[in-house]
């Protein structure tokens, strides 16, 4: 289904990525998931093909645009492994752009260039206070001369195992929002990385726990200014949420495609499942839900591409797309019947991964709080329940 935002070059890119994913990633995913191991060599391959330069406009990368990145990320999500997708995103969307935006020439040379080539893997360790969590950032950094001394732990950090370096948000001031971004290279004394057991889904993601004990990070490893880390992270939030939405749409589309295939082939009561109206209508509802989520996601993408504030739209897209992902994967599993319950078919993995995506990078509850904060603002032109016109409740 064609969309207003994408030009011919984007459609060509989409076909290229789709073919690459089908040929080189899709067939391997089952083995990686079974082994619960992210394929390190995938980063090099993506670097080779130039895909990792998508996040770096300017001299380091291909100088491509948000729609191009979006095409790549949505298509990548059709690889069938939420974990593989998440690790690539952690590198490309979460960590690299921070270096790209904030890094000095020297920092970009050291950290960004090899990451674009896929020779270095990047991780971002930055969990901030969430609506329902109640814990402040659990990593603290104290300035001592020309070093920061870092202490604390962070669990479930994507790419922490494979990463050559971790962009870490540490608290450097009294307030919860006083964060500073530090680049920690692997091998630094006092930096310990421990593998973790796979959870419900995302088994092929590289996920590890960080433990920092008196880890001395040179001031030259600081990205941007002290205590501005929170602001830097906020700047990337809408895009990150949008990316999660794109991933959910891509994954849902894959689940739908496989459900369509299965329903067309599986014969019971003398005819394929697709000949039963109940099943056909189910598939229609699934397809419609995917389109609806995609449309909202592309709408948010359009605003971002135009440089407009898309905080509300991105949060809404994230909320809707992830819920759609869960619903579509669930119906796809149901359509597969007993075969949906055994691991021989990938649909049970799609079901598990969709559930993980809902909670990743901010829960649905958090998304709703963000949207709620904006319901009485600007575009709705309503007078809110606060004292001022347009004030927050």
């Amino acid at each position: 289904m064609k969309h207003w935002l994408f030009e011919e070059e984007h459609e060509i890119l989409r076909k290229t990525v789709r073919r690459f994913v089908q040929k080189e990633i899709g067939p391997q995913v089952a083995a990686w998931e079974e082994a619960a191991r992210f394929p390190r060599e995938l980063f090099r391959r993506l670097g080779e093909l130039g895909f990792l330069g998508l996040a770096c406009p300017g001299e380091e990368g291909g100088g491509l645009d948000h729609p191009a990145q979006a095409v790549f990320l949505e298509e990548l999500a059709r690889c069938g492994s939420g974990g593989v997708w998440a690790s690539v995103c952690a590198h490309l969307v979460s960590a690299m752009p921070l270096v790209g935006r904030l890094g000095t020439g020297e920092q970009k040379e050291r950290f960004l260039t090899p990451a674009v080539r896929g020779e270095s893997v990047a991780a971002l360790a930055a969990v901030r206070q969430e609506a329902s969590r109640g814990d402040a950032c659990a990593v603290v950094a104290v300035r001592e001369g020309d070093h920061y001394v870092v202490n604390g732990t962070q669990t479930g950090v994507l790419n922490a195992g494979l990463a050559s370096y971790v962009v870490l948000a540490a608290r450097t001031g009294p307030a919860d929002g006083d964060l500073t971004l530090l680049v920690l290279e692997k091998g630094l004394p006092g930096l310990e990385v421990n593998g973790r057991r796979a959870g419900v889904g995302w088994h092929a993601a590289d996920l590890a726990d960080l433990a920092l004990t008196g880890c001395r990070v040179p001031v030259a490893g600081r990205l941007g200014e002290e205590n501005r880390g929170g602001t830097y992270l906020d700047e990337g939030l809408a895009w990150e949420r949008l990316v999660v939405a794109l991933g959910a749409v891509g994954a849902a589309d894959l689940a739908l495609t496989e459900a369509l295939q299965y329903a067309g082939q599986r014969v019971q009561f003398g005819r394929p499942l697709a000949k039963f109206q109940v099943i056909r209508h189910k598939l229609v509802d699934m397809a419609t839900a995917v389109e609806r989520a995609r449309a909202l996601t592309y709408h948010a993408l359009t605003r971002i591409a135009r440089g407009e504030d898309a905080g509300t739209e991105a949060a809404m897209a994230r909320l809707v797309a992830c819920q759609t992902g869960v619903a579509v994967a669930d119906e796809a599993l149901q359509i597969h019947g007993g075969y949906g319950y055994i691991t021989e078919f990938p649909v049970e993995r799609y079901w598990r991964d969709a559930r993980v995506a809902v909670s990743a990078g901010g829960s649905s509850g958090t998304m709703r709080e963000i949207i709620a904060g904006r319901l009485w603002e600007g575009s709705y032109g309503l007078q809110g329940p606060g004292e001022e016109v347009g004030g927050r409740p």
């Binding site: 019947g337 949906g340 055994i342």
Partner: protein, 375 residues
């Protein structure tokens, strides 16, 4: 929560099973799931303690109890935290024994019914085939009479207890011209030449339950292994299908209620009262309670001689959906609390999911109900 259908005798049974589950099962549950196999000994032990035979006649080792005895057993077994155990017991206690009790010869009952409900011989039921899932009548496994024997050829899939079972109660076609009226039931013992387990399937959930793919290649069994009348297999198995659905619903609801119970404990300690998830949890609790009452009421009808196919289908449909919604919410809520107890909750979420498929999918249940509503 006490209920007017349960007497003092039921409550005494409940206490006994609860104690057994918490002392002998719950401590090992995680390890069994890791191994993707709970020990055969679990079924032997349940049989030894008399928990599998309560509602069967005393002459076969039972206590001639009522259906609510079975309800108590399933409800308490759900508290071991593994859906796999109630599933195995469902086959062992409520799927295989009933047709044997009703249609078996005394000799067959001595060989199979008694040992089954005493937990001495583990049983499985062979209906589903790769080409016959929802369409049970499409069974192609063939049984051909040859002198004093039957010769069986075919394959079965998704057979619970199929790897460990000492015998299978098999559904095979004896008259291909007759569709579902040409199907018969046979006993096939483990170790019979020509009968083999080809695969133990890896699954999304119910992992410590062994689910088998079986093959029959010119497998010869004595004529005396036919259960009941030739070509009456479908009719003979009909009660089994209803019992599987009804007690499946009991287990689904009990498992989900146990999960919610644990989730509420964790939410209270981690987040405190007034959690934003409160309203959603309330909805799921209300839904589960409604289904529980429907299930109890339907059990009562069956216990009083009725054959309420519509209500049984409703129990299965509503129970499966309520269980899936509740465990899904539990996982989402605890995802926000951190990963501490996620293992048990995410397991119950994966386990619950089978209920909407196994024993008859949601869609089949809806079709049956619609048919009975005469739409």
């Amino acid at each position: 929560m006490g209920h007017y259908f349960f007497t003092a005798e039921h409550e005494e049974l409940r206490r006994a099973v609860r104690r057994f589950v918490s002392e002998e099962m719950r401590p090992e549950a995680e390890a069994w799931e890791e191994a993707e196999y709970f020990p055969d000994q679990v079924l032997h032990r349940l049989g030894e303690l008399g928990f599998l035979s309560l509602r069967y006649p005393a002459e076969y080792g039972g206590r001639s109890g009522d259906l609510f005895m079975s309800v108590v057993v399933f409800e308490e077994l759900a508290r071991c935290g593994l859906g796999a155990i109630p599933l195995a017991v469902l086959v062992q206690m409520e799927m295989v024994p009933p047709p044997v009790l009703r249609f078996g010869s005394e000799e067959q009952k001595a060989r199979y019914l008694g040992p089954c409900i005493r937990g001495e011989k583990i049983a499985c039921l062979g209906i589903t085939e790769p080409g016959a899932g929802s369409d049970v009548a499409a069974v192609q496994t063939r049984a051909v009479r040859d002198g004093g024997q039957w010769v069986i050829n075919g394959r079965k899939i998704f057979i619970t207890n199929g790897v460990r079972a000492d015998f299978i109660l098999l559904v095979a076609k004896t008259d291909p011209a007759k569709g579902h009226q040409g199907v018969s039931l046979f006993f096939v013992d483990k170790g019979t030449p020509g009968f083999a387990v080809t695969r133990k399937l890896k699954k999304l959930g119910m992992r410590s339950s062994d689910t088998a793919e079986l093959v029959f290649e010119d497998c010869r069994i004595p004529a005396g292994n036919l259960l009941g009348e030739e070509n009456k297999g479908f009719y003979q198995i009909m009660w089994e299908l209803q019992g599987e659905r009804l007690f499946g619903a009991v287990s689904a609801v009990a498992g989900a209620r146990y999960t919610l119970e644990r989730t509420l404990e964790l939410v209270k300690t981690r987040v405190g009262a007034g959690s934003p998830a409160g309203h959603q949890l309330a909805e799921r609790a209300a839904e589960l309670e409604a289904v529980r009452q429907l299930v109890y009421g339907t059990i009562w009808k069956v216990a009083h001689g009725e054959y309420p196919v519509k209500e049984i289908s409703m129990c299965k449909l509503a129970g499966a959906q309520a269980a899936c919604r509740a465990t899904d919410l539990a996982l989402e809520v605890l995802g926000e609390c951190g990963p501490t107890a996620e293992n048990a909750v995410q397991r119950s979420w994966r386990d619950a999911r089978l209920n909407r498929i196994g024993g008859g999918t949601d869609e089949i249940m809806k079709g049956i109900i619609a048919g009975l509503l005469e739409i």
